[in-house]
């Protein structure tokens, strides 16, 4: 009798405790869900330490709160109104006339040769096989990604890349099927889409200067060196005789272009100065990829 009387208030107490606990859990899960994207991984400071070249952008009064990736720019000191992405976009372009010439050349190359060929190709080959071909070439570029990730000191990501390569090559019909696309590593490893240019950037190297190459497109002094290194890490470069190597790379390019018809057109349509638009987009996109 005694114990029963005592049990009732205890029961209420424990029930209310449970309810509070449940509410706290609910709140924290909601907070986690809404705030999940806010927690950022360790990344380089988003404010350029010493913006060297006096730029038009510097004189602009409005301080942004976030950089391009959503990281809060912490208390920019006087004169530090550029994000790291702005600093990358302010890469000097001393050879502008020369670069504009090759930009024009590549533009014509695209509209007169690559686009019609890619359109004809995509009219004959449906989208799905083209994705398979894309997978195959992507899988084949594994050495570039592996070496870059190792040089960036990311053995975890390199290991994941390796298992994807083995899985896709052995069980994905030599890489045509991307069977490992849905298998996520048990802890996040960041993007594995790396090349040597991005690796040099990760080490802290600047772009040097902006460059446009015929056939290759927008680049920079840093990325040009990286591109040369990537050449030796690309298995297709070793196909013999050389013209088969070039033809294979050309086919890879056409296949890629066939998946992206319209992208360059809309960028060009939307811009008042296409050369500047592409330059800015290239430099900012490369900067983002370094930190992905």
């Amino acid at each position: 009798m005694m114990s029963h009387e005592k049990a009732t208030p205890m029961h209420i107490l424990s029930r209310s405790l449970l309810a509070t606990l449940a509410l706290t859990l609910l709140c924290s899960s909601v907070a986690l869900a809404t705030g999940a994207a806010q927690t950022t991984t360790a990344a380089p400071a988003s404010v350029a330490q010493k913006p060297e070249a006096p730029s038009l952008l510097l004189a602009y009064g409005d301080v942004d709160i976030w950089d391009e990736t959503g990281q809060i720019i912490k208390k920019p000191a006087k004169g530090e109104k550029m994000t790291m992405s702005d600093a990358a976009a302010a890469t000097p372009d001393p050879l502008e006339g020369w670069n504009r010439m090759w930009f024009g050349f590549n533009d014509k190359l695209y509209f007169w040769a690559m686009k019609p060929v890619a359109q004809g190709y995509s009219a004959v080959i449906p989208e799905r096989p083209r994705i398979w071909v894309g997978n195959f070439f992507h899988n084949l570029m594994f050495p570039v990604r592996f070496v870059s990730l190792m040089l960036q000191g990311k053995p975890d990501a390199a290991a994941v890349e390796t298992s994807r390569f083995i899985g896709n090559t052995a069980f994905g019909l030599g890489g045509f099927a991307d069977i490992t696309a849905d298998s996520k590593p048990y802890k996040p490893i960041g993007s594995t889409e790396k090349d040597l240019g991005l690796t040099f950037g990760y080490w802290g190297m600047d772009n040097g200067m902006y460059l446009v190459w015929p056939f290759i497109g927008p680049s920079s002094a840093r990325d040009t060196v990286g591109y040369a290194g990537d050449y030796f890490l690309t298995p297709i470069s070793y196909i013999h005789p050389w013209y088969w190597s070039v033809a294979t790379k050309g086919y890879d390019k056409i296949n890629e272009v066939s998946m992206r018809i319209g992208d360059y057109e809309s960028l060009k349509e939307a811009s008042v100065d296409p050369y500047e638009a592409v330059r800015d987009a290239y430099l900012r996109n490369r900067y983002k990829k370094i930190n992905d």
Partner: protein, 207 residues
Amino acid sequence: MKKFSIVLGTLILTVCLCSTALAGEAQDRLKVGIENVINILADASLKGPAKRDVRQQKLRAVADGFFDWRELSRRAAAEGWKKFTPKQQDDFVASFSELLQKTYVRKLEKYNNEKVEYLGEQIADNQAFLKTQVALKDKTIPINYVMIKHSQWMVYDVVVEGVSLVKNYRTQFAKILSRETPDALILRIKDKIKSLDAGKNVDDVAS
């Protein structure tokens, strides 16, 4: 004890509900805007080249509802903005927003039921940064929106794959304004719109 726990529980619940309501405000505005755009694009009665004008008008009306064109133009013109006369500013906002709407609509016309995922938002004062991603067939594209609240939340910048729309135009405008007058810049934008109108279904716009 019972009373206390009820009060505590209610308090926590209130705080919890309030914070989620606040956190979702900007995102809800963006979501509604994007959903309206998707609805127009998915509307079977508005499909086909014959309905192009109606469709574009509707899309423009929706975009006007959640894009702050003035804020966007001001930031894109950057320091050039202060050199504009009030009339030039209005002219610039009108023509630049028309160019953006025209090219934005063209991009959207290629929309093919891709799914938009909302990955979270950050708010500081009257500005918000929202992360989303769009899944294409062979890759996902990260698209971030920056919003500002004057009377209500409006988008003033879109960051696609690390490339900010406002800053991309800022580079171009700064280049032109370093050599030409504000009127020449506005004229260039208007010419661009004209050439877009002239070659409506042509992909290749002559440089």
